[in-house]
Amino acid sequence: MTTAATPAASIELLAEGQGAYHPVDPDGFRAWVRDNKTRSLTSKLMTAEEAVRRFVSDGDYLAYDCNYLMRGPNLLMHEIIRQKKQKLWLAGKFTYVDVALLVAAGVANRADCGFFLATPPLQHAIREGRLEVFEYSNVVMTIRLQAGAMGLPFMPVRSFGGTQGFDHSGAKLIRDPYTGQPITLIPALNPDVAIIHVHQADKYGNARVFGTGVAHAESAMASRKVIISAEEIIDTEEIRRDPGRTSIPFYAVDAVVEAPFGTYPGNCPGVYASDPAVVFEVFRAISSNAVNDYLDKWVYGVSSHEELLERHVGEAKMRELREREVIREGYRA
């Protein structure tokens, strides 16, 4: 490039959204990785309490994957509520109850919207300024995470242009220097912390997700701090026997929490079904200002997920949920 003699020129910037967005700083992310990520094979096994205490800070941008109903990191989400973290900014993609739950619990006050249920209490929180919302779509959010997971500042995308979400976002419309046509750019997303539930992980954080998903690998690679909860801790020997099954490599991971039934009351595909009674209970709670009752029982009233399972679920129910999940094909290496 030292010999390039191209005169300076420019690319038209046609429109810009005016929404606040989590700062874009690929070099800062790189420096964080260099200074904080452990590249040796060091056990990262710890309790949910320790993981959340050490790796979730007030004001953090939080990505969770998938959601409270579907392989969500519910154990970690409960722990975040239990520890009364403050002012989290949520990646609210592909979500039913999570945003409403976390806002009602008082731990989150901003959300990027892909999709989440806007129940009356949540609408109320928005009107009262207890929740500020920035507008994207589900896929725009996961592409933002992909850009973050690639160490890039932005990514072009062929959707989102023309919407009013665009206006309330960090997107920009430019004239593509390759085709001459307008194209939308969206800002990369590098969350401060990601919480992800997986089927299997070794103690170093090499993790396997089976079945479909939303953006577990992208969230893990894109986030400064990564907490994995794993249905099952497996030996590293097993990881080495089938490296093609590793979804997330150890060096991206900061904490590994052993978490059987860690997504309860949601389902863990191939392992156990969701518990419909409790799923309906959380829907009712977020729809009717009854979140405190829900949290009193399921979060504040127990000191840990183990206690939750012991006191409110029990072996018989867990066996039933395991048996209700009849499909196993494809969910094992």
Partner: protein, 279 residues
């Protein structure tokens, strides 16, 4: 195929969309409600070789029906016997690449140019605005699938001149090239709107009524449009649901009636004609 005697609004809409499903085409089913059930019904009866994806990257599954409550994505029954499992970016990117022929979705509000609102009713950001869930996958579907089929209620609050918020793009301001100027892929855009009463297409990027069910008149439909659509020279009459369709819908697909029991009207055959009553 026997015309059915009794069915509700949602069932009418799903049966109508099911008949539009084509063999050898790809569908992106938004979420897990009426769009997904319409495609499943269409595959079951009319177009077994139609293929579909869902937002979590399931490609061409043979799901184990019925689903667990709410569990229409990232669940083993919904993903069962797929040809490939990916993630949300798989679905989004394959649509972006042009691999998805049709997107089927539903919405809160649609306007004369097919723009879709699923974000808020009322002025965005105002104290009186009522917040909804946001576009979810609909923005990508509406932007990137070749053709979109929008399912919604026939309700004058839903058919408006201009949506309160464009969550997912239709023809935007309706001018030629508006979508391309916004960076969207060429030759895409809204294709059909289906309600329990009617079907619409677009004429020069404006909503046009093209068909009605037997039990409502054109005038009744227009009464339920705040903004009046164009009218096709001839308004076709849609066939009512058949017993076969309803049996499958009720006994194999939506057995718990989560989707079909949703609020709306109920239509019955009184021996001479269909009569609709709001329940």
């Amino acid at each position: 195929m026997t015309r059915a005697d009794a069915f509700n609004d949602r069932e009418v809409m799903m049966c109508t969309v099911a008949r539009m499903v084509e063999d050898g085409r790809t569908y992106w089913a938004a979420g897990g409600g009426t769009p997904l059930y319409s495609i499943l019904l269409g595959k079951r009866l009319y177009a077994p070789e139609a293929q579909y994806v869902t937002e979590d990257g399931v490609i061409a599954p043979e799901p184990m029906l019925p689903y667990e409550p709410m569990m229409t994505m990232v669940a083993s029954r919904a993903a069962y016997r797929a040809l490939s499992w990916g993630t949300m970016n798989t679905a989004g990117i394959h649509a972006q690449l042009g691999f998805m022929d049709y997107g089927v979705l539903n919405t809160l509000q649609v306007d004369q140019h097919g723009n879709i609102n699923s974000t808020c009713l009322g002025e965005y950001g105002s104290d009186t605005a009522r917040r909804f869930g946001g576009p979810g996958g609909a923005d990508t579907i509406a932007a990137c699938c070749w053709r979109t089929i929008l399912m919604t209620d026939q309700d004058r609050r839903k058919f408006v001149r201009q949506v309160d918020f464009i969550s997912s793009p239709g023809f935007l301001d309706g001018t030629v090239g508006a979508r391309e100027r916004a960076g969207l892929p060429r030759d895409t855009g809204p294709w059909r709107v289906v309600t329990p009463w009617a079907m619409y297409d677009y004429e020069e990027r404006r909503l046009r009524l093209i068909a009605r069910v037997p039990w409502v008149t054109v005038q009744e439909i227009l009464d339920e449009c705040e903004w009046k659509p164009l009218l096709a020279p001839e308004i076709a009459v849609l066939e009512p649901p058949t017993e076969e369709e309803l049996l499958i819908l009720r006994s194999e697909l939506d057995v718990r009636g989560q989707t079909t029991d949703a609020a709306g009207g109920w239509v019955t055959w009184d021996g001479e004609k269909y009569v609709r009553q709001v329940v």
